[in-house]
């Protein structure tokens, strides 16, 4: 049990990182990574949404959808859960951390359509994870996202002071460096855990 959880966690954070090896959630990854502070805030919001979405979606799937033979409605029901959760996070941030709320801007409601969140709950179903495994996969998947976006934001902060060809200004250099960071993460892919 414990080794299983460890394997899931390491897999979600490093070897099967949502951004660098599954290429899910690239939109906020590129949009919200110009500053480390904002990136960390975005990452934490995603950790929260992913973890909670995994838990609620697992309960809904196992106790409502599957017994009623409505498994084909999974995507629809999951989106409903995620949208509601994101709204909740948005309200909470607006009240408690207004600075983060304005820094995240449009990307906060866009977590709803962050494919990494929907990806994690659908993968939970696909991999037949139980409740604990689902929650662990959700939280660690979010942590993987957090790690990736914070790493990438620090890279981008350094790029600002670097000299690169003028034609790479803006998004081109950003995409190139995203590719390089993803390459670095490829190093984990050969790793076999247990």
């Amino acid at each position: 049990m414990l080794t299983n959880i460890l394997a899931i966690s390491l897999g979600a954070i490093l070897t099967n990182n949502f951004i660098f090896s599954q290429f899910l959630g690239c939109c906020p990854f590129l949009g919200c990574s110009s500053k480390v502070d904002t990136a960390a805030g975005m990452g934490l919001a995603v950790v929260f949404v992913m973890g909670l979405a995994s838990a609620i979606c697992w309960v809904i799937d196992t106790y409502i959808l599957i017994p009623l033979g409505l498994a084909f409605l999974e995507t629809l029901a999951f989106i409903l859960v995620i949208a509601a959760l994101v709204q909740l996070v948005e309200m909470f941030l607006k009240k408690s951390v207004p600075s983060l709320y304005s820094a995240l801007g449009i990307y906060l409601p866009l977590i709803t359509t962050n494919c990494a969140v929907l990806g994690v709950v659908l993968l939970n179903v696909q991999n037949n994870y139980n409740f604990i495994e689902s929650v662990v996969y959700g939280v660690t998947g979010g942590l993987g996202f957090l790690l990736a976006i914070v790493l990438f934001a620090s890279v981008r902060e350094r790029i600002q002071f670097a000299e690169y060809p003028e034609c790479f200004e803006g998004f081109p250099i950003c995409l190139v460096s995203a590719g390089l960071v993803a390459l670095a993460f490829m190093g984990f892919s050969g790793m076999k855990i247990f």
Binding site: L65, L80, M91
Partner: protein, 263 residues
């Protein structure tokens, strides 16, 4: 049938539960917003045209309520909206002069000589890649493929016979066409301005005669006869100083090329 009902019922109930949770959360996490922000937002035209320079009407309302933006920036609403917003904010109305778009080119397909026949994509930017500036011999001319017409959200810009024309009645002066024009031809002029030379060709008169039937030849007649000294010919093209112009329309009558339009 029952199966479908069950599916609808399950999703409906789930949605209702989440809705209820969110409603409770909205009460708990309620944040007071500046009531003026809401009032200003309601007073605005609501076209989300971006003519004010802020991201949509919400963004502008927020900036106004925070005292960061002047009250007269809503071009779609015009002076009426400016007055309302000023009233909400408790400041004196600065009175926005309504602007309208104007295309200083009359090079329709009848008037302007063509260099070649363009059959590429219907996009001014694409057309600019060929033969310098456009398919017309006049390098200053409107290309007439309608980037401005597509950018206009108010149905005020149309291509007529190969040249962009503004419908002054529909135009709100948001400036979307000004940004959309790759040759920077379209400009905004005060709505009260009745006369404008509809040409921007800076070539010498003899050259203009060759390439366009209506282009300004810089004959200086309007400059000499303008009772208000509002017209000057700069770089071989007549220009009207809107602050001096008395809108008498004399220039439009005497222009030998009939290039000065009277609205």
């Amino acid at each position: 049938m029952i199966f479908i009902l069950r599916a609808v019922l399950v999703l409906g109930v789930l949605g209702a539960i989440f809705g209820a949770v969110l409603a409770v959360a909205a009460k708990i996490f309620h944040v007071e917003v500046d009531p003026r922000e809401k009032a200003v937002r309601e007073a605005l035209a609501g076209a989300n045209c971006g003519g004010c320079g802020y991201p949509g009407c919400d963004g502008y309302a927020k900036a106004v309520a925070a005292g960061e933006a002047p009250c007269n920036k809503c071009v779609a609403g015009g002076a009426e909206t400016a007055a309302k917003v000023s009233e909400i904010m408790g400041v004196k109305s600065e009175g926005a002069e309504k602007l309208v778009a104007f295309v200083p080119c009359s090079g329709s397909l009848d008037a302007a000589e063509l260099r070649f026949h363009y059959t590429g994509p219907e996009d001014c930017r694409a057309a600019m890649l060929f033969g310098g500036k456009s398919s017309k011999l006049c390098t200053f001319a409107c290309i007439g493929l309608g980037n401005c017409a597509r950018a206009c959200k108010f149905d005020a810009m149309h291509i007529e016979n190969g040249v962009a024309r503004v419908d002054r009645y529909n135009c709100v002066g948001c400036g979307a066409c000004v940004d959309a024009c790759p040759k920077s031809i379209v400009k905004l002029i005060p709505e009260s301005q009745r006369v404008m030379p509809a040409c921007r060709n800076q070539d010498k008169g003899a050259q203009v005669m060759k390439i366009c039937k209506v282009g300004c030849i810089g004959c200086m007649k309007c400059q000499r006869e303008c009772p208000a000294d509002a017209i000057t010919v700069v770089n071989n093209v007549a220009q009207v100083d809107t602050s001096k112009c008395v809108q008498c329309g004399h220039c439009a009558d005497i222009c030998p090329r009939h290039i000065i339009t009277l609205f």
